[in-house]
Symmetry: C2
Subunit: 492 residues, 2 copies
Amino acid sequence: MTAASYTPSRAIPAEDIRKWDLETDVAIVGFGIAGACAAIEARMAGAAVTIFEVAAAAGGSSAMSGGEFYIGGGSETQKAAGFDDTIDDFRAYLTMASGPGVDQPRVDRYAENGLEHLEWLAKQGVPFKGTYLPGRWPEPPTDDTLIWCGSETAWPFRDVAKPAPRGHTAQAVGRGGGQMVMDRLSGRALALGVEAHFSARALCLIVGRAGDVLGLVVRIDGEPRMVRARNGVILASGGFIANPDMLQQYAPRVLGINSYPITGGNDDGSGIRMGQSVGGALTHMEQFFATRTTFPPESLIKGIIVNEQGQRFINEDAYHGRVAQYALRQSNGRAWILLDNATFARPESFPQVTIAAVGETWAEVEAELGLPEGELVHTVNAYNRAAAEGRDPLFHKQPEWLQPLAEPPFAALSACIPDWPAVTFTLGGLVTRPSGEVLDAIGQPIPGLYAAGRTACGVPRWGDGYSSGMSLGDSSYFGREAGRSAARARAA
Amino acid sequence: MTAASYTPSRAIPAEDIRKWDLETDVAIVGFGIAGACAAIEARMAGAAVTIFEVAAAAGGSSAMSGGEFYIGGGSETQKAAGFDDTIDDFRAYLTMASGPGVDQPRVDRYAENGLEHLEWLAKQGVPFKGTYLPGRWPEPPTDDTLIWCGSETAWPFRDVAKPAPRGHTAQAVGRGGGQMVMDRLSGRALALGVEAHFSARALCLIVGRAGDVLGLVVRIDGEPRMVRARNGVILASGGFIANPDMLQQYAPRVLGINSYPITGGNDDGSGIRMGQSVGGALTHMEQFFATRTTFPPESLIKGIIVNEQGQRFINEDAYHGRVAQYALRQSNGRAWILLDNATFARPESFPQVTIAAVGETWAEVEAELGLPEGELVHTVNAYNRAAAEGRDPLFHKQPEWLQPLAEPPFAALSACIPDWPAVTFTLGGLVTRPSGEVLDAIGQPIPGLYAAGRTACGVPRWGDGYSSGMSLGDSSYFGREAGRSAARARAA
C-alpha cells in the first residue's frame, strides 16, 4: 500500500501488518515541547525513543511562544525578588484559572511538582537568569526571567490566592524565547540518543485485537512505514487551530473573531483524531485562548474598555487574554479602549490600532462612536469619581491602575473584532490522566496510548482563565509524565 | 454471562455471541418522541421494529414537555391567524437560533419539511385545534394550538427573519401537552405492530469485525439478551442531564447554576456513550438549555433585568431562556428584575420568588441591594427617559414592552442563581447526518448505527438561541428520518 491509500487518522489492525519497518520502545508524534520532554524522560528511563515530526525541524508552535512557564510555589527567583509564594496559593490560582471544568488531580500534581520541574528544565539546559522584572509585560524585553503574566493581582483571582509573579521565562533578550527553549530541549533529547525523523507524517495508529495500540504508520520519504512501538505511542502533535473543519465542529466561535492563530500550520488536529480513532474521549473542545495585547505601555491598563452600550464589562487590569475574551463576547463584537491625554498610547504589539474617535469632551467621543446618548459619559464620569478615591466599585480594578481619565483630548481605540486580530490557539483535546494515559468514553485507559501538550486537554482549559506560560508549563511537565509512563510500560 | 458482567456502554464483538435471543430489523433504544417517531416510520416502511425502554412506560422526558413543536413556513394555523410566514424566514430564524455552530444542511432539511411534518404528526393522532392564542405564554393555558414561543419579535432575531408565531402545540387544556403527545405517538407505534420491551436497559452495542453495528445487549428481567438488529440500531435515549460525571466533563457550567433538570432520571448519557464506544464523534457538548420563566404575567417583560454592576445586559423581551442564559453568566451569578407598582407581579411559574428589595425610590432599592452608588439609578432613569419615547437605544427592546418604571413603590425580584432554579437539559450529542447516520471523528458513517433526539446534536445546539418546541420538533422530525434510513438499510 502507498501512503495515499491510508485514511488519515483511521486506525488499522495489526494483523494486516506484514512486516515492521521500524521498531522502538516509545514512539512520539510531534517534536514540540511536549514531545521533547516526553522523549528526554523516556530516554533517561532507559527506553529506546523515536520521534516523528511532520515539519523539517523540531519546535512546533512551542518555538513560537515567549518561552514562559507558569510556575510558582516559592522558587529561588521568586524568593530573591521578595515574594513568598506558596504551593497552596499556586494551586488555588490554577484551580480558579482552570475554570468550572477544572481537573483537580492534574492541577494538584502540577502545583506540587512545579519547583522540581523548574529545576529539571534548567538541568536540561534551559537558562534562567533568576532575576525579576517589575511591571506588566507579555514577555520580558530584557533577559530577566521572572515577570507577572496572569491575573494574579486582579479581581477575583487576588481574592483566592495571594498574588505573586509566576512567569518564569527562559533567559533571552527580547521576544521569541520559545525558539531557544526548543533548541535546548530538542538538542538535549537528541544528545541522549533519541532518534528523530523529520518531514515524517504520522498517518494512523496500529491496534491489536483488544484495541491496544501497538504502533503507527508514518509517511517517510513518501512511503508508509510500519512502526512498532513496544511500550506505546505518545501523541504530542499540538491542537487543532489550523483545522477549519474541526474548528467549525467544536469551537465555531474561533471562526468569528478574526483569529490570528499561533501555529506553523501543523496544529491540524491529526493527533486528536488519531486518539479518537481508538476510542479516546475529548473534552472542553469549545475552549480556546484568545488575546490582544494592550501593553506595553502600561498606561493603556489605566484606560477603560466599554461595549456598544457604553458600559464597562471587565476590570481592565485582568490578564490581557481575559479582557480580550470578554470584549470578543460583547454584542456585535464591538468594544473600545478609552484613554485621555495622560494615558494615550498605541499598543507596542499593535501600533496600527484604529483610533475610532477623538474629542475634547467625552460627549464628543460618545457621539463620534455613535453610542447611546449619555451612556459613555455616565460610565466615564462614574469611573473618574471613584478612581479619584482609589475605588472601582463595579469591577474592582486595583488602585495602582485607577486614574481619572480627565485630561483632554480624549480618544477611543477600537477593540472591535474586525479592527484588531486576536492571537489564538485551542485548549480542548483528549481526556488523559495526569500520567498521560488516554482515556476512553467510560474513563478506562487505552493500552499503549498517551497524549500530552495541546493534543490533550490540560491544566489550561478555560479561555477566561488562561495566563501566559500555562500551556508551555503544562505541555512540558505532563510531557515528562507521559514519557515516564510509557517507559515504565516496557517493564509491564 | 450475567447482565452485571457487562461493562456499560462498552461494545462487544459479535464473534463472542453464541446465540441471538431476539432478532429484529430495527432496534430502537428509548421510547421518547424520537424513538416513537423512528419506530412509526420504520414500521410503515415494512421493517420489523423493536423498542427497548428502560422505564416502565413510554414517554421519556418528551412526556414532561409542553407538547410544543417549533415549526413555521406558513401552516394553515399561521395563515388562519393572519401570519404569512415563509420557509425562508423560518430557515433564517433557525439558522440564527442554532448559533455559530449551525448545521446548515440539517436546518435546511427541517425548514423545508416542517409543514409536511406537522401534517404527519396530525395523521399519527396528535391533535391540533388550529387556533392562535395571542400574547406571550410558555405554554398555552387554553386548548389553542399556536403561540409565540421564541425570540421572533426580539432583537436581533427580528432583523434576520420576519416574526411569526411558530409554537404549534398539541391540543390540550393547560400544561403537560407532552404526555398526551407521547400517549398518541407511542400508541400509534404499538398499533402498527412495533414490539416494545419496558424496564429494558440497553447495556452495550454488538459490533462486527469491520466495526459495523450488528445489534445490542439488553437487560430484560435481569438477564442479558443478545439482540440482532438486521438493519441497524437507533439510539434515542435522551441526553446526559442526569449524569453528573458527564456534566462535569463536558458541561461543567450546568453544575454551577442551581439546575432543575427536565428528566425522569434516564437522561444518563448511556446512548451517547454507546455511540462513542464504536467511534461516534460528539459535538457542542458544552451547550445546554436553561430557563427561568418570568411570564405570565406579561407585565414582568416590561420590567428590566440588571446585574451586580447595576447594568442591563439583554433586551428583556427576548425568549425567557435567552434572558436566563445571559443572567446566569453575569458576575457572581447575580441579577435582579426591577419592577414598579404598575408592573409588579410574581411569576406564576415561580410564586416563591425572592423579593430582594423594595423602596419608594430607586435609590432605596439600589442601596438595599448593595449595588454601586448611582448605577442602578442611572440605568433606570436612562431606560425610563427612552422608554417614554418608545425607544431602547441599548438593547432594542420592542416598543410594546417599553413602559417607564416610574410608579412607586419599586421592587427587585431576585434572579440570583441560588434564589431561582433554572430548568435545564443538554443540547450536545452524537454527530449525525440529517439521515440519522452516526458519524465518526473523520466524518464517515458507522454502518448500522443511527441516533436522534438529544442523544444526537440537532438543530438546537446553542443555549442562547433555544426556543420552546425546538427539541420536540427536532427529535420528532429527525427521529422519522432515522427510522426511514434504518428501514431502507434492510434492502441494501
